[in-house]
């Protein structure tokens, strides 16, 4: 007697146990994925904080000899990453100057022509551009700018490569933000006799500014840490260079140079730490903007 009830009870217990185990596995695996982040942060802070002082920000990267002497005397390697900071600011700034206007206008075009055939083609191409590996864009920057225009490695070539890289995220965020803005807002402006372009630029665009800004900042943070395309375009420079037709350094390029020079190895951690903090700040800013000034209608 009761055997069938016992069997079904045992079966139920097994099902419940399975459910429990699965839940624990999900939680465990999900949180295991966050471990690398903390390991990386820990490693960078532990090994990098010693090098970060005031001269880190205004001195250029040391040469091998200086570093070797300092390491021998067990001192902190002199010098900083000023050439990288200036280079990154100029290269990323130029890339933004190229990509932001084009990206916003194109996003506006896509939002306004959501069903057009040509707009569909453009949307498809933007999606495809998003997936182009950064190293391929480096090759493109080399062929388009380094060879024919600047006649040698240059910051400008790096900017062009990076601008293509950040374009898709600006276009898509602009399009998606503008699509959320109610048609009535536009109609209200048009009905008051405001011309179309003023309606778009003075009414629709400002109402979506937070979403667009978020996309722009995320685009910048995406390219700020890029190394591969810059290796083929900007190359790197030991001095601070403000001429965009000359080779230029950048923080990620410096990390790569330090990595390849045994004497400078101690510098990689501070340079990476600084780069990481810079990018994290950009990400947090983007998040804060998206949260605070959410488009609401």
């Amino acid at each position: 007697m009761n055997t069938s009830a016992q069997i079904s009870n045992a079966k139920l217990n097994r099902r419940l146990l399975k459910d429990k185990l699965f839940t624990y596995a999900i939680i465990l695996l999900a949180f295991l994925s966050s471990v690398p982040l903390f390991l990386i942060l820990f490693e960078l802070i532990k090994k990098g904080y010693r090098q970060i002082n005031i001269s880190f920000f205004y001195k250029v990267a040391p040469d091998t000899m200086e570093a070797m002497v300092a390491v021998k005397n067990n001192e902190i390697i002199p010098g900083g990453i000023a050439n990288g900071i200036v280079g990154t600011l100029i290269i990323v700034g130029m890339a933004s100057l190229i990509a932001i206007p084009v990206g916003i206008i194109c996003g506006m075009y896509l939002a306004e022509n959501s069903k057009g055939k040509f707009a569909g083609v453009v949307r498809f191409i933007v999606d495809m551009l998003q997936g182009v590996p950064s190293i391929v864009l480096g090759v493109i920057g080399y062929i388009w700018i380094v060879k024919p225009i600047t006649g040698g490695f240059s910051g400008l070539a790096g900017s062009v490569a990076l601008s293509i890289m950040m374009l898709p995220s600006i276009v898509r965020s602009t399009e998606e933000t503008l699509k959320m803005i109610p048609e009535t807002l536009k109609e209200a402006a048009l009905s008051l006799g405001v011309p179309y372009h003023k309606t778009m630029l003075r009414v629709v665009l400002p109402s979506g500014i937070s979403g667009i800004l978020t996309g722009v900042i995320l685009g910048i943070s995406r390219i700020a840490g890029e190394t591969a395309p810059l290796m083929l375009t900007a190359l790197g420079s030991a001095a601070i260079s403000t001429d965009i037709t000359e080779p230029s350094s950048a923080i990620p390029l410096l990390v790569w140079e330090f990595y390849n020079d045994p004497n400078l190895v101690d510098m990689i951690w501070s340079a990476s730490l600084f780069l990481l903090i810079l990018i994290l700040c950009l990400n947090l800013t983007a998040k804060a903007i998206a949260k605070r000034w959410k488009v609401q209608y």
């Binding site: 099902r15 419940l16 459910d19 839940t23 596995a25 999900i26 939680i27 465990l28 695996l29 999900a30 949180f31 295991l32 994925s33 690398p36 982040l37 390991l39 990386i40 490693e43 084009v102 206008i105 194109c106 075009y109 707009a119 083609v121 453009v122 191409i125 933007v126 495809m128 551009l129 997936g131 182009v132 590996p133 190293i135 391929v136 480096g138 090759v139 493109i140 080399y142 062929i143 374009l167 276009v171 011309p195 372009h197 943070s221 840490g225 890029e226 190394t227 591969a228 290796m231 083929l232 190359l235 990620p252 990390v255 790569w256 990595y259 780069l275 990481l276 990018i279 950009l282 990400n283």
Partner: protein
């Protein structure tokens, strides 16, 4: 011309510019690879030789195509259990609250770490472990690169998944619960069949990322020009080959590298296209 018209031309012009950029990229890569194609023909794709010695120059892409595919598919396999767990965690088990928002921030931050920093971490922290385990004498190789790549693509593989999982209609899940299903059974019989293709599309897009990833792989894979014999062997990917050799290349080697770039462009294009196709079917 009035400003109204200028504005409309500007809008269309920006679209035309994007199309021109894309056409420009493709034609540039094509023209750049013509000399190499003339020399090697389609043999370039399946030749295993990469020999830059003057006079006996011969270039083939197969070791790098295989290296790229093995590294990125292995990375995807390693990432799968973690990314799937995150998708379920954020999309079904814990949608709101402090823990999930913590996990979300962590994943966002993982996506923000530059590739070169991942490479450094792999080189200084992970490589010694691989060496200690005796998997590879120096700790370099496909396996090491794949682990780092797997961490790098977690954000891409998990985000789309959690989105589609959270969009599975509540009524379907409730129907299953009302029949006495446990949560695990709901996941198995309702959520996965419903959100499966979206989750899959996320993995395909993550694969596209992994294929094009350069710096971390360059620092860890060992850069050998031979076809890898196993997952603990050294290898090379298309992206890291370009990164390593483009600087000093000219002549035949230069155009061969451009052709590698073209192949890389095509492969990532196909992978991303498949991913987008699945996503499109999903939203239709």
């Amino acid at each position: 011309m009035n400003s109204e018209k200028i504005f409309r031309y500007l809008l269309i012009g920006s679209g035309v510019l994007i199309v021109l950029i894309a056409i420009g990229i493709v034609t540039t890569l094509f023209i750049g690879s013509i000399p190499s194609f003339k020399e090697f023909g389609f043999g370039f794709i399946y030749s295993t030789d990469w020999n830059p010695t003057q006079g006996r120059e011969s270039y083939g892409a197969l070791p790098f195509i295989i290296g790229t595919l093995v590294t990125s598919i292995l990375a995807l396999l390693i990432t799968f259990p973690f990314a799937f767990s995150i998708s379920l965690f954020l999309g079904e088990y814990f949608k709101n609250g402090k823990l999930p928002s913590f996990l979300r921030s962590v994943i966002d931050l993982l996506a923000g770490i530059p590739s070169v920093v991942y490479g450094l971490w792999g080189f200084y922290a992970l490589r010694p472990i691989i060496t200690d385990l005796g998997l590879n004498a120096q700790g370099f190789g496909i396996f090491t690169s794949s682990i780092v790549l797997a961490i790098m693509i977690i954000p891409y593989a998990s985000s789309l998944g959690s989105e589609v999982i959270s969009m599975v209609p509540g009524s379907l899940k409730e129907a299953a619960y009302s029949l006495g299903a446990t949560r695990f059974e709901v996941v198995k019989t309702v959520i996965i069949p419903n959100a499966g293709s979206g989750i899959f599309a996320g993995y395909i897009l993550a694969l596209g990322r992994a294929i094009g990833e350069t710096m971390a792989v360059t620092m860890l894979i060992g850069n050998s020009n031979k076809i890898p014999t196993g997952i603990f062997d050294l290898g090379n990917t298309m992206a890291s080959l370009i990164a390593n050799q483009f600087g000093e290349a000219d002549g035949l080697k230069y155009t061969s590298l451009v052709e590698i770039g073209l192949l890389l462009f095509v492969i990532t294009g196909i992978v991303n296209y498949i991913g987008k196709l699945i996503m499109k079917k999903l939203s239709a």
